[in-house]
Symmetry: C2
Subunit: 191 residues, 2 copies
């Protein structure tokens, strides 16, 4: 079974959701570590339903022009499936960051051209860092005593990895920009 199926089950293990909801949550909550698109979402949901891991909980007819909202819930079998998967040892994943590939070839171009790219990525990662930091603060305020059997405990853990990741990325960008600026200055005058 593929990761995307577990991703959907992980969301449904917390509360019943529609496909639309799942997409929102995935791109907002597990956001830094997974994402999904429609063409994976709907067939995967159908597959999970056929396997008896999720079931249609309600079929709310909307304003007629809009498709009916199909809310799914995880089944007992689905929950057990997730539990078995969680405790199964796994290897580290490869990151696959195209920007790192670019940095690996950045010696081929003028530092003047690389610095704006790094500044742009720094900004992007700083934005996400701020968003995650705010989110964790909000969660902790909501519930100061998190214990490991609460869904929010795990949510916070994942967002905290997001924070650590974004902070590292931001710091690394800053450091490399500084290094490129001095390395550029000692290279020779441009004017």
């Amino acid at each position: 079974m593929s990761s995307i199926q577990y991703a959907l089950l992980s969301l449904l293990a917390r509360e019943p959701l529609s496909g639309y909801d799942m997409k929102q949550q995935m791109n907002n909550r597990i956001g830094p570590f997974w994402n999904i698109n429609n063409n994976q979402l709907y067939p995967t949901l159908a597959k999970l339903e056929a396997e008896g891991l999720v079931e249609l909980q309600s079929y709310e007819q909307q304003e007629s022009y809009r498709p009916a909202r199909k809310v799914y819930a995880i089944t007992e079998a689905g929950k057990e499936h997730v539990q078995k998967w969680v405790i199964k040892p796994s290897e580290m994943s490869t990151v696959k960051d195209e920007f790192m590939l670019k940095v690996y070839s950045s010696w081929l171009v003028d530092p003047e051209s690389v610095i704006p790219l790094l500044e742009d990525h720094q900004r992007q990662h700083e934005e996400r860092l701020a968003a995650y930091t705010a989110k964790v603060a909000e969660f902790r305020e909501q519930n100061p005593d998190l214990s490991s059997e609460m869904p929010l405990f795990s949510t916070v853990a994942v967002v905290e990895m997001g924070i650590a990741y974004e902070r590292s990325y931001t710091d690394w960008c800053k450091q490399l920009i500084a290094r490129l600026k001095t390395s550029h200055g000692s290279g020779g005058p441009t004017t």
Copy 2:
């Protein structure tokens, strides 16, 4: 043009290599941020050659039972292609870490089962951290005055991101393990 093509060009921009060499380097040097397998490698190389971005530099016949070693070099067109790609602004990539998905669902299982998984990942990431740290030290010793137009400058930059990433991951594992242990202790006695 896909990332994998740029990955191969990025390697060949530094020195001529065989397909086999490229695979080794990718799984060792840009390792944390990209990887490749044979079925992508050889057709992609053929495609790059057809597009005139790389060319066959030599065709060394080996011990007869072994296929001839085909060494490729980047062309001027290939180099320009890489340069244009490097300075093109790009979005952040999504990480897609299956382990984070598991942590997101870890509230469903006993902390006693989660701790070993975290310890295992901590160990894996610590190992890579040590390897990258040693590599950077070696690079810096080889050449203490790195300037931005040297390939090694970029190599070091990428490996340093690797170090930052592995350190964050390791620290996060440690912190979460500690938190699970206290959270577990306060949960109630098992014996």
